[in-house]
Amino acid sequence: MSRRPYIRPMSQTTWYMRNGRYKVYMLREMTSFLVGFYTFLTIYALATLASNSPQVWNSFLSSQQSTGMIALHGFALLYFLFYQTFPWFKLAPKAMPVQVGEKTLPGIYIVIGHYIVWAVLSAFIFWLAGVI
C-alpha cells in the first residue's frame, strides 16, 4: 500500500447525481420502497380478511377508494413496470444464461420467454380476481 493513497473527494449522499447510469440505478433501487409498501398493504388487507367478517372487509375496500389512492397506484404501476419488471426481464439472460450444447441460447429468447410467462401469469391472476 502506498504511503499517501489518493482518495477521490466523493459525496456519500449525492454521488449518483454525477452520472446518468448511476441516476437510473438509483431510480431502479427506489422500487424496493414500492415492494415494501405493497407487501404491507396486502398484509393489512389479510388482517381485515382475518376478521372473517364481510363488514370489516367492505370497510377496508371503501377505505382504499380515493383520488389520492388512484394517483398513487397509477404512478406506482407505471414506475414499477419501467424500473423493476422490464429491467429485470432485460437482465435475465445475463443473470441466467441458458446453455444449449456448446453455445448459449441468444438472450432475446430468454427475454421473450419472460414476457410470455408474465402475460400468462398476469392473465391468470386477473382471471382469479374475476377481472377477465
Binding site: S11, Q12, T13, Y16, M26, E29, M30, S32, F33, L34, V35, G36, Y38, T39, F40, L41, T42, I43, L46, A47, L49, A50, N52, P54, W57, N58, L61, Q64, Q65, S66, M69, I70, L72, H73, G74, A76, L77, F80, L81, Q84, T85, W88, F89, A95, V117, W118, L121, S122, I125, F126, L128, A129, G130, V131
Partner: protein
Amino acid sequence: MAIAKKAIVWGLFAAGGTLTAFVFPALIALFLLIATGNVPEGMQFEQIHVFVTSWLGKVCLFIVLFLSLWHAAHRLRVVAHDFGIRKDTLVASTVYTLAAIGTVLSAYYLWMIKA
C-alpha cells in the same frame, strides 16, 4: 459462515426480485381497480374469502409475501448505504426485523382466515 449467510440473503433477494417483477404489476393493478371503485368480483368478500380459506390460496399468498418481504429488506439495506447511511448493523437489523415481523403476521392472518 459469512459466505453461507450471504448465499441465503442473496437467494431470497433474487427469488423475490423475479417473483415481484412477475406478480406486482397485476397486484398493483388490482389495488388500482379497487381504488377507482370498480371492485372486481373476485375481490368481493365471498370469493376472496373462499380463495384464501383454501390451502392453495394460503400457500401462494404466503410465498409471495415472504419472498417480497425479504427482497425489499435486502434492497432497502443497500439503498440506505447508497444514501450515505453507514450504520449497516443498525440498518440491517431494522429491515430484517421488519421482514421477520411481516412474515409472522402473514402466517398468522392467513391461519386466522377460516370458513
